[in-house]
Symmetry: C2
Subunit: 223 residues, 2 copies
């Protein structure tokens, strides 16, 4: 019994409520689209890390994904679409690894301290991916870029929330909205710094040393 109105798939309650850009496809089967795009992203991430976006050809992507150039273009409309899918996948992976491991028990200060440690560890694991986003975001079409930057802000907001909690429960000293937002960005960037200044930092510090120093700097300032 078909519904009277074709009803464009009654919102099958996808896992992610993340606002994401809809990339058009010629293929009807949504499951297949998801599967093929996963293949495309997995292949493209590796290629982009190795050679960069511009030096990777659409043919290489298709081949590494396991199908032909023609098929690739059934699932995306342009090379830039692949870059967007890659950036989005990286941010989702990042967010998922964080949410898996973040503990929200204890005071705001304690939760923040733990979050910094987890975040830095995830940054270390995903070094190449974070670097990729720093280097290639500029190559995205404006519209796609907006989504990627918004995603970046959502990740930053995790720290702002914890900072707010710490202020509310008096485990951190009083901070106004501006100070909280700035410090949230600082924490995010100091995690990223471990990846984009690796050439200077890794010879001098282990991840553990780096995390410990930065964490005590940040918390020392806030308590």
């Amino acid at each position: 019994m078909k519904p009277l109105q074709p009803s464009p798939a009654p919102a099958p309650e996808t896992e992610t409520q993340e606002p994401a850009r809809d990339i058009p496809t010629e293929v009807k089967d949504a499951g297949l689209v998801a599967k093929r795009r996963r293949q495309i992203v997995d292949a493209a991430v590796q290629l982009f890390i190795q050679k960069g976006f511009h030096k990777t050809t659409t043919r290489e992507m298709a081949k590494a994904a396991g199908f032909s150039i023609g098929t690739l273009y059934e699932y995306v409309a342009s090379k830039e679409d692949v870059l967007y899918l890659v950036c989005q996948a990286i941010h989702l992976e990042m967010e998922q690894r964080l949410k898996e491991r973040l503990k929200f028990a204890g005071t705001g200060a304690a939760a923040l301290s733990a979050a910094i440690e987890v975040f830095f560890e995830v940054c270390d694991q995903m070094s190449d991916h974070i670097l990729l986003i720093y280097q290639e975001t500029k190559s995205l079409p404006k519209e796609s870029m907006r989504f990627v930057l918004a995603h970046e802000e959502r990740i930053t907001a995790i720290f702002a929330d914890l900072l707010g909690r710490g202020v509310a429960d008096y485990s951190l000293k009083p901070l106004d909205r501006a100070q909280i937002e700035l410090m949230a960005h600082n924490i995010a960037v100091l995690g990223h710094m471990w990846t984009f200044r690796r050439w200077a930092l890794a010879p001098r510090f282990t991840l553990e040393q780096y995390t410990e120093l930065q964490r005590s700097l940040i918390l020392g300032e806030l308590t």
Copy 2:
């Protein structure tokens, strides 16, 4: 009266003792090489900022510099050479603007505080250029990249020196070598952050507010 040995130009004491990569050229007149390369760099910087390195063609660079594609290749051996010249010029400009304005009088802490303000202001002036380095350094050949990263470290070392002075004259609290180096990188990156997170920061903070907040965070932690 010619020297007996052709003596490859007896080191005419160039202004910059900066270690820099020698880009080979077909043209003999060193002054002309400097002049043309300045034209190339000035043209290329603008193009790279607008469209990125990969989307800029060698023809566009030559045309914007005011000569033909053939002439361009008398002064560089490859497109990547132009990128190296651009990165180097940006770093030199950065360094020069800093050195012009840095005051080294007073305590280490006072000099550091002033240096942060100057540095952030220069970062603001050279936003696009700093962003360019973050985005395109990866496209440099390995050898050129080494020089560019070394230059970046020399700039960072300015802050490390001031921190060391502050520790020595007790205007800052005691810090070991690792803490000094890390803090120097933090200062550099927080300046750059104003450029690469401009999309999030500029709507909320003026440069003055941003500088004041970051400076008091940094110095609050160190005193």
